[in-house]
């Protein structure tokens, strides 16, 4: 599996970059779209031995995570030094973390979750980073959709707690 990761990673990166160069106004781009597109391309080439779609998705999710996290980290670095924003609402309110910071924080939190519960950490990768559906994620993990649903509720709660908005 590790052998395949670089191939998928490169392919996804190329796809992502090509999207970034396009006119952005009329395009909404989702990781799900990217992953499915990469799958079609790579499977078409038949250059690597895939053990089916689920296998690919599992690897693609890892790759997407890396791409998205790298991308977010670069943007965070760029943003530093810019003016900070005023918060209107009271501290009691939920503050929505800006997406870049959130992605980076999820990545860090996932490392901790993986130590407790590897399956749950992979689930976050599949759902949050690769945008797979509950059923697709269930396929990849080899468990029932009901189990995935239950795990997903807890995983999101866990992330919410770990990523508590900074005061």
């Amino acid at each position: 599996m590790e052998r395949l990761l670089p191939v998928v990673y490169e392919e996804l990166k190329v796809l992502a970059a090509s999207y970034l160069r396009r006119e952005r106004v009329d395009h909404t781009l989702s990781p799900t779209g990217l992953v499915h597109e990469a799958y079609l391309k790579l499977v078409d080439q038949r250059s690597v031995g895939w053990e089916g779609r689920s296998h690919f998705f599992g690897i693609a999710a890892q790759a997407m995570r890396r791409i998205l996290v790298d991308h977010a980290r670069r943007r965070i670095a760029k943003k530093r030094g810019r003016q900070f924003q005023v918060t209107l609402d009271t501290a009691a309110e939920r503050a929505g973390a800006p997406p870049d910071e959130e992605v980076a924080a999820v990545d860090e939190a996932l490392a901790r979750l993986a130590a407790l519960d590897p399956r749950q950490a992979r689930l976050v990768e599949l759902r949050y980073f690769a945008g797979l559906s509950i059923e697709e994620a269930a396929d990849v993990l080899g468990v029932s959709p009901a189990t995935v649903k239950r795990d997903w509720v807890l995983a999101r709660a866990w992330l919410q707690r770990e990523l508590r908005p900074e005061a």
Binding site: A16, S30, T32, A92, A157
Partner: protein, 825 residues
């Protein structure tokens, strides 16, 4: 965090179970499942709190990473608007100043981008639907909602009138405004909210950051209707009552919002109360601090805040006002009462309208007497017990509700502004009661029979201690008996409730010494409920009627509560077979409640369903069916998994069966059982009633193979779990017996039928149709065991009785006729 993977598995299991439960049950289950393990409890609690908070977060991949334009920037166009600058951001989204790109006058607007992860299509659909209503809101104190749309990237936004001003709380603090000025500002808010309510719009997210004050002192409310537009749960066709807690801010949310119950105009009144509290004291009624969200919510739902005058002594009060004592004097008494009335837990006990609240504030400012009155403990306790009693007939209420509820009422007593000495006395008592219950819960041991039983057992074990603990205090002995007794009653153990409630009544009579009091009427009412449970219908009726006479002679009677009480009388009358009289009573009760009951009041659907049951009894199936459906819909609106939904589906199933629609009846019966069993467990009387209904349908649908094991299951629990007085027990024998006879085992069937008939005759009057039905079944069994003559005689008698009770055309009568005809062949 020092969790191990093993430990995490436990956390996961506990979380998985609790996450499925309604919020109010979670706390008990959590306490039970994590007994003696505070670390585990804290862990699960914080995860549950996070689960409540998380909303849609993480549900979608971080799409906008690839879109540099995810967040509009200055100079960019959003729809026809040109973004000028960012004004602020919060949980719900980011707000920008903008103006129409094609507008020569460059009129400024505020453009609110909704946070990602919400369903854009649904929001937009809702926006289009609501737009006309919201566009109608033209008021000098309301910032108009001008437009709304979706960006090219699919992100919804709203455009509002641009308001230049400062948040009201900061405005007051910065200028150190005196109380009178703060009240003037507050009345402007009231005027705006009142106007919106008259236009059938609820704000649902009232808080200082949504109230701006302009330089000229004019108040503007922002975001009217926005909360509802963005809430995915809100039904678009219900302008006045909607459920869903999605976007509101916890600190200002009403107890019903926190619990996911329907949101009404009363919820806005509560939020206004929180704001008034804050404007007067400089702090929130419930300080959130570092507490876990779950705990904050629990407090907000259960406990009563300090009255404003007391709150200022613990802080600086009203920002930086130096003369705290003066402020305290200004607040004590009437302003306290106004705020506390707006902050009452029960929506129907707050001000009836924002207008009434605003008027009281005005009356206070003008030095006129105000309308708000303080709460009193006996009143609260009586109300609490009685309300639960009314609800329980159809539903059954969980243990916590009562104990937690008692806690709330006692807290209220602590803060009620009664005459000094009485208040002092009651405060001491309230503390004693609280302490007593705390000890009870702490004494509960997890090693006994099981989590749920443990708490009950613990309470049970403390009953003998009541008298020694409060030897000199008759009031306490009475109050504790009444509270514990109602708890047992509400969770369906009338055997344990009975003695306690009877003693409470005896003691109460001594306390009242001939005076008519609320507590006395309630004590009587409670005992009537017990008698009803035991099937002593005539006694129950007379007690109910006596109790109602007392309630009706009280000066502060509440017509809605009294109507509900009469609903009980109607039930008892109906159970005694006086159908016409009962229908009359039920009809009146429903009419009264339709006029007077607050939206979301469970009393109305309960009354409707009871009314419909009587119509079923009278064979008026066509009239009954829409009423059941109305009751189900009303209840589902607040919570589709409420056991009451199941409780209402049961008689609907029977109604459909009698109307000959077996398939529909079966599906209603199955839903009824599924809902009640999930909510209340298999042994609860309401669940058993649902099962009884389903069994009726199954037997008549010829599904004996499925019905028989279910009926045997009920019979197996006779005694320890199901008392002989439970109608469902007799029914189970009859259903099993009928199936046995039909499947060729007439002899054993006859035994079961006889037992069923005996149990029924012990509860019901001899001329009740259900007794005749049982006899008809016995007649059929006799014929099949060879006693042709005896069987035919019984069948004939039963048929005549049924015809007399229900009429010739009734389903049960026709069944009996068919049995008779078959026997004569």
């Amino acid at each position: 965090m020092s969790l191990s993977a093993d430990r995490w598995r436990v956390v996961k299991a506990v979380f998985a179970e609790l996450a499925e439960l309604p919020t109010d049950l979670r706390r008990v289950r959590l306490a039970e499942m994590t007994f003696n393990d505070p670390e585990l409890r804290a862990e699960v609690e914080s995860l549950l709190a996070a689960a409540d908070q998380v909303g849609e977060r993480f549900e979608r991949p971080p799409v906008d990473l690839f879109e540099a334009a995810a967040e509009p920037v200055v100079g960019e166009r959003i729809g026809p608007y040109l973004v000028v600058r960012e004004i602020g951001r919060g949980g719900m989204g980011t707000v920008f100043e903008a103006h129409r790109a094609d507008d020569a006058f460059q009129k400024r607007v505020a453009l609110k981008m909704v946070a990602r992860g919400r369903d854009s299509d649904a929001i937009l659909r809702r926006f289009r639907y609501e737009r006309q209503i919201l566009a109608r809101l033209e008021h000098r104190n309301i910032a108009a909602l001008l437009d709304g749309g979706v960006t090219a990237a699919g992100q919804p936004y709203f455009v509002m009138e641009y308001v230049e001003g400062q948040r009201i709380d900061r405005y007051c603090a910065d200028r150190q405004l005196p109380v009178a000025e703060r009240l003037k500002l507050f009345r402007q808010i009231c005027a705006a909210v009142q106007y919106a309510h008259q236009n059938l719009v609820i704000h649902r997210d009232l808080k200082p950051s949504n109230v701006l004050v302009g330089a000229d002192g004019t108040v503007k409310l922002l975001d009217f209707g926005i909360a509802k537009l963005i809430d995915p749960e809100a039904a678009p066709d219900e302008p006045l009552t909607v459920t869903g807690v999605a976007p509101m801010t916890t600190a200002y949310a009403s107890p019903e919002q926190l619990q996911g119950f329907p949101v009404t105009t009363a919820s806005d009144i509560y939020s206004l109360g929180v704001m008034l509290y804050q404007l007067l004291t400089g702090r929130l009624p419930f300080e959130t601090g570092d507490l876990p969200l779950l705990e904050i919510r629990r407090r907000m739902v259960e406990s009563v805040p300090l009255p404003p005058s007391r709150a200022v002594t613990t802080t600086g009060g009203a920002g930086t006002d130096p003369s705290t004592r003066r402020l305290q004097r200004a607040l004590a008494g009437e302003l306290d009462n106004i705020v506390m009335m707006a902050l009452r837990k029960e929506p129907d006990r707050r001000y009836t309208s924002v207008e009434a609240l605003g008027e009281d504030v005005l009356r206070f400012a003008a030095g006129l007497p105000i309308r708000a009155t303080p709460d009193s403990l006996p009143y609260r306790l009586g109300k609490l017990v009685r309300r639960n009693r009314v609800a329980v007939v159809a539903t059954g209420v969980a243990l916590v509700a009562v104990i937690g509820g008692a806690g709330a009422s006692l807290w209220q007593a602590r803060t009620a502004g009664l005459e000094r000495d009485r208040a002092e006395r009651e405060r001491a008592k309230a503390e004693q009661v609280t302490e007593f219950f705390r000890n009870v819960i702490l004494a509960a041991s997890p090693t006994r029979l099981g989590p749920r039983v443990t708490v009950l057992e613990a309470i049970d074990a403390t009953i003998p201690r009541i008298d020694s603990a409060f030897a000199a205090d008759l009031w306490m002995r009475t109050a504790l008996r009444s509270t514990i007794g109602s708890t047992f009653y509400d969770i369906g153990i009338p055997e344990r409730a009975g003695p306690l409630l009877r003693e409470a009544l005896t003691f109460q009579e001594r306390l009242d010494s001939g005076r008519v009091t609320w507590a006395g009427a309630t004590a009587l009412y409670n005992v009537a409920g017990v008698e009803l449970q035991f099937g002593h219908l005539a006694v129950a009726e007379s007690l109910f009627r006596r109790s109602m006479a007392m309630y009706e002679s009280l000066p502060d009677r509440d017509p809605v509560e009294i109507a509900k009480g009469w609903g009980q009388v109607a039930l008892v009358v109906g159970n005694q077979g006086r159908t016409a009289e009962a229908i009359e009573l039920h009809h009146k009760v429903v009419e009264l409640l339709r006029q007077g009951a607050a939206p979301g009041d469970r009393g109305l659907p309960v009354a409707i369903s009871n009314y419909a049951s009587l119509l079923t009894e009278a064979g008026r199936f066509e009239e009954a069916e829409p009423l059941y459906r109305e009751a189900v819909t009303l209840m589902e609106a607040s919570n589709p998994r409420d056991p009451a939904v199941g409780a209402f589906l049961q008689p609907l199933a029977i109604n459909l069966l009698y109307a000959g629609r077996i398939a529909a009846a079966e599906s209603a019966g199955r839903r009824s059982l599924a809902i009640t069993e999930a909510a209340l467990g298999p042994d609860n009387p309401t669940t058993l009633t649902a099962l009884r209904g389903l069994l009726n349908v199954l037997v008549d649908a010829g599904k004996c193979p499925e019905a028989m094991p279910l009926a045997r299951g009920v019979i197996a629990r006779r005694g320890a779990v199901i008392p002989d007085s439970d109608l469902s027990l007799g029914s189970a024998y009859l259903q099993l017996g009928e199936c046995l006879v039909l499947t060729g085992e007439a002899a054993s069937g006859l035994t079961a039928l006889r037992e069923g008939a005996r149990l029924r005759e012990a509860i019901l009057p001899p001329d009740h149709w259900a007794v005749a039905h049982a006899r008809s079944l016995i007649g059929m069994a006799l014929v099949r065991t060879g006693d042709r003559a005896g069987g035919q005689r019984l069948l004939g008698e039963a048929h005549r009785s049924l015809e007399a009770a229900l009429g010739a055309g009734h389903y049960r009568t026709r069944q009996a006729a068919a049995r008779l005809a078959a026997a004569e062949r």
